[in-house]
């Protein structure tokens, strides 16, 4: 069992989640792409591996996803449906990545915010979905 999360796993899981939800597979990009400004959703894992799995995406992409999945127009990043959609995106990606980690681990409910978790990520995987950039960021918590 691997002790860390690798880029290939993030790409595989994210592709499967996006294809299932949206019928579309995103394009994995290199990390030089500028980070999207907008909204972050993350889940926290605690146990044999502890850290955060974060999905960071632009407000425009979040609104498009909300429109496609829930047939509603989100007016802002505080819209309940938009926060629900991006939170579930993080939950699905985080839940599937957790399955690759050593047990026991517990997965939190998703959190959603305009501000981002403070931790410096160990891994950033950038994607492009229909021209919009988003990122999956993995931050491992190290205990001294």
């Amino acid at each position: 069992m691997t002790q860390s999360i690798q880029h290939d796993a993030v790409i595989e899981v994210t592709n499967a989640v996006c294809e299932s939800l949206l019928g579309d597979v995103p394009e994995a990009r290199d990390q030089s792409t500028a980070s999207p400004e907008g909204i972050s959703a993350w889940v926290t894992i605690r146990g044999a591996w502890s850290g955060n799995i974060e999905v960071r995406l632009s407000s425009g992409l979040a609104r498009r996803l909300t429109r496609e999945l829930m047939c509603t127009e989100a007016s802002s990043n505080d819209d309940a449906d938009l926060r629900d959609v991006v939170g579930e995106l993080a939950n699905m990606i985080g839940g599937n990545l957790k399955a690759l980690l050593p047990e026991p681990c517990a997965l939190s409910l998703p959190s959603v915010a305009t501000m981002r978790p403070a931790a410096t990520p160990d891994l950033v995987q950038a994607f492009s979905l229909r021209g919009d950039a988003f990122e999956v960021r993995v931050s491992r918590e190290r205990r001294i």
Binding site: D81, M92, N96, P104, L109
Partner: protein
């Protein structure tokens, strides 16, 4: 009419589960929704669904806590998980509590067909 209760704290996921049921051919089900285990318990006692499709990780009462409570207090109901986590230990715990299946997100209409046909009968 066959009654199904969809339990998930995400409204988006409840919509996706219901849409997938229709895509899998179960378009004429009577579907009700609940946002956590506590709401689901009330709905089960009120509606007596033929099947509960339940998320695992939810506020108030988790899916496995709900299933455990149903086992001790009733009523008995056919129960399956639809969850973003599908580890071996969770599948084993679900099986021990009597869950009929555990569908891991992301899923397809075919996944639903395979898991639900033995419970609901073939889709039309």
């Amino acid at each position: 009419m066959t009654k199904v209760l969809v339990v998930d704290d995400s409204k988006a996921m409840r919509m996706i589960v219901i849409r997938t049921l229709r895509q899998a051919g179960w378009g004429s089900l009577q579907v009700t929704e609940a946002a956590n285990g506590a709401e689901a318990l009330e709905a089960i006692r009120r509606e007596a669904p033929d099947l509960v499709l339940c998320d695992w990780n939810m506020p108030e009462m988790t899916g496995i806590e709900l299933l455990s409570k149903l086992n001790t207090e009733g009523p008995k109901v056919r129960f399956g998980f639809v969850t973003s986590e599908g580890t071996d230990s969770m599948r084993e715990r679900a099986r021990q509590e009597g869950a009929l299946f555990l569908i891991a997100k992301p899923f397809t209409a075919e996944t639903f067909g395979t898991a639900l046909t033995p419970v609901l009968g073939a889709a039309t």
